[in-house]
């Protein structure tokens, strides 16, 4: 019996995925008759739409000037946006106090920057600053008296500044609120569970516009005489409660997806409920539902414009208001395009950030 020695097959590099541009085109755009037809149709549509769009937006647009006489009417007249930009950004915030808003934005960018970078020693301080110090600083800057600055009433807040304020407060408030409601809804204690179910189902069942309307018009009727607090604050509370209900259901979905074994392992190690939740269950559940949470937050960001119902002028509403100014009649399109661009930039950034976060938190292979 002769013994054959086995020579292991050498590891080969994988075949190169594409053979140049032609190969890529053939594989992705012209792989079948249907695919080819769709590709050609797509190209035709681009040829049809793109040049006029670019002409209107850029090449034939008016950029310089300070009133409507600068607009020639062939393309967009961005002069309208330029002239009204301050109002779009800061609402009716007094011009000489606008540095306070700019400073708050600068602080946010600088303060949060380490959170968006790769692992670095400043992450923790930055997170603590943004969580605890920043809200107080921003509050002080916006309202004034806390830092000995002149008072600016919330009725003067507006534009992008108001949009961001409502969105950030809504997001920052509804995340912990939603998590608590979700945990409560899964509690073994019937009273806590029922209370959470009622809160969630109530707030999820009413439209946001109704919530805002109630907070502004109805709530004062129920409050005792003389006790009347800020309209914006009431709206913010309404938004936070409303969004908490949505976040709660998203988070609950994540909690349900965590295998029972994780709870059991945490219990078996002697971790009590808060530790098991905070160290084991929530980190995993929240990671699972990042897409859902960001989805809710993007929706919230755009829904902030509903505050028009209670007479607040956020970004969209102040653009709309400017567009009916007799001096600038007929430039609403430019206004809406600008609004769309602003909303898109913020929402797209949130989306990208969430994707980066998911990638960073990904550990090992999924099975």
């Amino acid at each position: 019996m002769s013994q054959s020695t086995h020579v292991p097959h050498p590891d080969l590099p994988p075949p190169s995925a594409s053979t140049g541009v032609i190969g890529w085109l053939r594989a992705n755009l012209f792989s079948s008759p249907l695919n080819s037809a769709l590709t050609l149709l797509g190209l035709y549509l681009i040829w049809l739409l793109l040049p006029p769009a670019l002409n209107w937006l850029l090449f034939k647009a008016d950029w310089s000037g300070s009133d409507r006489s600068a607009c020639h009417g062939e393309g967009a007249c961005w002069v309208f946006i330029k002239v009204r930009l301050d109002q779009f950004l800061y609402g009716f915030f007094p011009a000489e106090e606008r540095w306070r808003i700019q400073l708050s934005w600068l602080l946010a960018v600088v303060g949060a920057a380490p959170l968006f970078m790769k692992r670095n020693p400043l992450r923790m301080p930055s997170a603590l600053f943004m969580l605890f110090a920043y809200p107080l600083i921003a509050y002080g800057l916006y309202t004034g008296p806390l830092f000995g600055l002149p008072l600016v009433e919330t009725s003067q807040w507006g534009g992008l500044m108001l949009t961001l304020t409502i969105a950030v407060v809504g997001i920052a408030g509804s995340l912990p609120g939603g998590i608590l409601l979700a945990l409560g809804r899964r509690s073994k204690m019937p009273i806590i569970r029922s209370v959470c179910v009622v809160i969630i189902e109530f707030w999820r069942g009413v439209p946001l516009i109704t919530v805002l309307f109630m907070s502004s018009v109805m709530l004062p009727l129920f409050l005792p005489e003389g006790m009347n607090f800020d309209k914006l604050l009431r709206a913010l509370i309404g938004v936070v409660l409303f969004e908490s209900a949505y976040i709660a259901e998203v988070v609950r979905g994540g909690l349900q997806a965590i295998p029972k074994g994780q709870y059991e392992a945490a219990d078996a190690l002697g971790l009590n409920y808060p530790k098991a939740m905070g160290l084991i269950i929530l980190p995993q559940a929240l990671k699972l539902v990042i897409p859902g949470i960001v989805n809710t937050m993007i929706a919230l960001f755009k829904d902030t414009s509903l505050v028009i119902i209670i007479g607040l002028y956020d970004l969209l509403n102040s653009i709309q208001a400017a567009a009916v100014d007799p001096n600038w009649l007929g430039f609403a399109t430019e206004g809406y395009v600008f609004a769309a661009l602003m909303y898109w930039v913020f929402c797209f950034s949130m989306s990208r950030y969430s994707q980066a976060l998911e990638r960073r938190l990904h550990t090992g292979h999924k099975r």
Binding site: P259, G261, L269, G270, I280, G364
Partner: protein, 257 residues
């Protein structure tokens, strides 16, 4: 019918005592009058057909399941609904699961140090030294920085054992620790368990690895339909089973292996 030979390493101290324990899932009577005394240093193997209540029995010991009648006393503390007592017992009782149940969002070392830091309040540095010690013990210190998802089943189960040992428990419970493993990985996990037994750990293992039972157990318990049918030293248990159901079960196990 208990083990007659006095096996070295076993002391008089009673670690677990179950007295007349009954449990129901709804209408289903899953544990029927379980009486079991485990002394310090004993290595007990629990076997029986699927659904006979083996898992439920050991899960009652650390209160992953609640018994409705009878008494369970672990290391001198009775299990009641007193949360402080339950947490105290869980600190002293380690458990290894069929599906490992490692925490996938934490590295191997973080899995190990989590409970010592948060439950035992051990300084991180000390906990990490301890974690590395037990990872060496289960022979995978080089995987400390990896995530569980990057390890093989056998490695994951050894991490799970190390994670339990980091709490320096007095009792270890194993619930079919090798059932979810590919055959070539069963041995590495069993070897770890054998070495643990040799160190005198009090162990209660649900397993169908009869080789393991013969090698390390000082008592084998057979359960069927929620009852303890027979218990004996491995020699007697395997060679001279008393009960018909035990005989049937053993014949099935042997024909399968």
């Amino acid at each position: 019918m208990t083990a007659s030979a006095v096996t070295p390493g076993i002391t008089d101290k009673v670690m677990i005592e179950m007295k007349g324990v009954h449990k129901w899932y709804g209408q289903f009577h899953v544990l029927k009058d379980i009486n079991l005394t485990v002394q310090q240093g004993e290595r007990i193997v629990l076997c029986g057909p699927s659904g006979s209540g083996k898992s439920t029995t050991i899960r009652c010991i650390n209160r992953l399941e609640e018994h409705q009648q009878g008494q369970i006393i672990v290391d001198g503390t009775e299990l009641t609904s007193n949360v402080k007592h339950i947490e105290a017992i869980r600190r002293e009782v380690g458990m290894v699961f069929q599906h490992f149940n490692l925490f996938p969002h934490l590295t191997v070392l973080e899995n190990c140090v989590l409970a010592p830091i948060w439950v035992r309040k051990m300084p991180r540095r000390e906990a990490e030294a301890l974690g590395m010690k037990y990872l060496e013990r289960v022979k995978i210190p080089d995987q400390a920085k990896k995530y569980p998802g990057q390890l093989s089943g056998g490695q994951q189960q050894r991490v799970a054992i190390a994670r339990s040992l980091c709490m320096q428990p007095k009792i270890m419970l194993f619930d079919e620790p090798t059932s979810a493993l590919d055959p070539e990985m069963v041995k590495e996990v069993l070897d770890t368990m054998v070495s643990l037994a040799e160190d005198g750990m009090t162990m209660l293992c649900v397993t169908h690895e009869m080789g393991f039972a013969k090698q390390v157990a000082n008592r084998v318990i057979f359960m069927d339909r929620g009852e303890i049918i027979e218990q004996n030293d491995p020699q007697t248990f395997f060679n001279h089973p008393q009960n018909e159901r035990t005989k049937l079960f053993l014949s099935q196990i042997i024909s399968n292996h």
